[in-house]
Symmetry: C2
Subunit: 262 residues, 2 copies
């Protein structure tokens, strides 16, 4: 299901961080090429043949750097770009009428944000960096122009959108039919697999999001998230220290899901 990336993506991230800071929102001078990006196996080019990836290079995506907490786009902004995460973690969220937010997703390196903007030409959700981060800005109209001439590429783009639909399907299932323990287990197992596919440890990691953000995403209150973490720790499934997580019993965690008592 997931392609494991064996090369560690950490090296280039460190490199980026050590560069002198650029002016905020100035057009980044660096241009990113898909063909030699360390994330190409999990990102936009995934599934494309060599020739199509080469064509992608002609778009020379501009890069944008964000500080932790900065927003990449906001709901209602004009839709021009989709964004691929190069480094860091993002959340996407919808603004509720009463001012609270509903988190609709978390995004890791290589994942794409903003596809919901195609529908009405405006972003339907907001994207916020959960740590210092780096994205490729992919001009949507140029991408469609390019894929019009290349059936293979067009299919890849459609598939990405469809994948987003499927992703939300499973979240709906989660929100509609699982109890608190099942929700958190599903969240952790999913995150673990995605980290593994990016060359990180699947059993030990640092959460970039708060309990409140996890809760919003999973449809539960932050106190319940906290209590459920504690419960898993008592059951010997996890070791939890604030945001540092070690999965002690992956089998037990996945079994929590299969039970599906409710």
């Amino acid at each position: 299901m997931f392609t494991a990336i064996l090369e560690a993506p950490v090296r280039s991230v460190t490199l980026l961080r050590s560069l002198p800071p650029v002016e905020r929102d100035a057009p980044a001078p660096q241009k990113a090429l898909c063909s030699n990006c360390h994330l190409r196996e999990v990102c936009l080019p995934c599934g494309m043949d060599h020739a199509d990836v080469g064509r992608l290079d002609s778009l020379t995506f501009s890069r944008r750097r964000l500080k932790s907490g900065a927003s990449l786009y906001r709901a209602g902004d004009r839709f021009e770009f989709i964004y691929a995460v190069r480094s860091g973690t993002f959340k996407t969220s919808l603004d509720l009428a009463d001012g609270r937010e509903q988190v609709s997703g978390f995004f890791l390196g290589g994942e794409l944000m903003g596809l919901d903007g195609v529908a009405h030409g405006r972003h339907a959700s907001s994207a916020t960096a959960l740590e210092d981060a780096d994205v490729c800005a992919i001009p949507y109209t140029r991408l469609t122009e390019l894929s019009a001439a290349n059936p293979g590429m067009q299919h890849v783009v459609s598939r990405l959108m469809s994948r987003e639909i499927v992703r939300e399907h499973s979240l709906m299932m989660l929100l509609g039919s699982m109890n608190a323990e099942e929700r958190l287990a599903a969240f952790l197992v999913n995150l673990s697999q995605r980290l593994k596919a990016r060359g990180y440890s699947s059993s030990e990691f640092h959460l970039r999001m708060s309990r409140a953000e996890i809760g919003s995403y999973l449809g539960m209150k932050l106190e319940t998230v906290s209590r459920t973490f504690s419960a898993f720790q008592h059951q010997g499934l996890l070791e939890v220290d604030k945001r540092h997580i070690r999965i002690a019993d992956m089998g037990g965690l996945t079994r929590t899901l299969d039970m599906r008592v409710h």
Copy 2:
């Protein structure tokens, strides 16, 4: 937001029903043309210019008729077609590990089903007719071939997928942050608007789905759905007689949503 269709779609539906029944699953002899379909303003051609709609006609979608309860496709089936509802109502659902189902959507005339199949070449969900129904089967590869040559058409297809993402966003919000009354109110208001856009009454209609199906969709038990209907009736918002619904106070119903106490 929705384009009201003034011509009543009822006439042609009645016509179809009076035709002699065809063999089940035999390639239907009737061919449907988008350019003079009564649903063209809410269906696939929505947003296309006249020339592109004409090009759609070249695909000559075959029609498929289903009895109430019959399934159009099942999760895991090979993905070849997307389906546009011509008449009747459908539900889409995911099969849970324990045999129960999670309803992921209800579909009315002109709405498209099956876009989640693009991701992996297999349908990710199942579609079932909730009453005798009629669909256009749109061959996906031929649609993409056609849209490769026509930028306008390609964009329309992308937009449809994006719209599906946005639709699921709002459902996530519903499941993640609303209580039982808000959920049912949101469901009814949404259904009312969609019926209105199709030329039906927005204040009085017949539900095609059971309490259990509504509950599955909204993430609550059928008893809670039933109780909430009764509560709305006592509050003077609705008149309910089994599946026959009359919205007595649309303003009050939408206010239930804005309150968003929880």
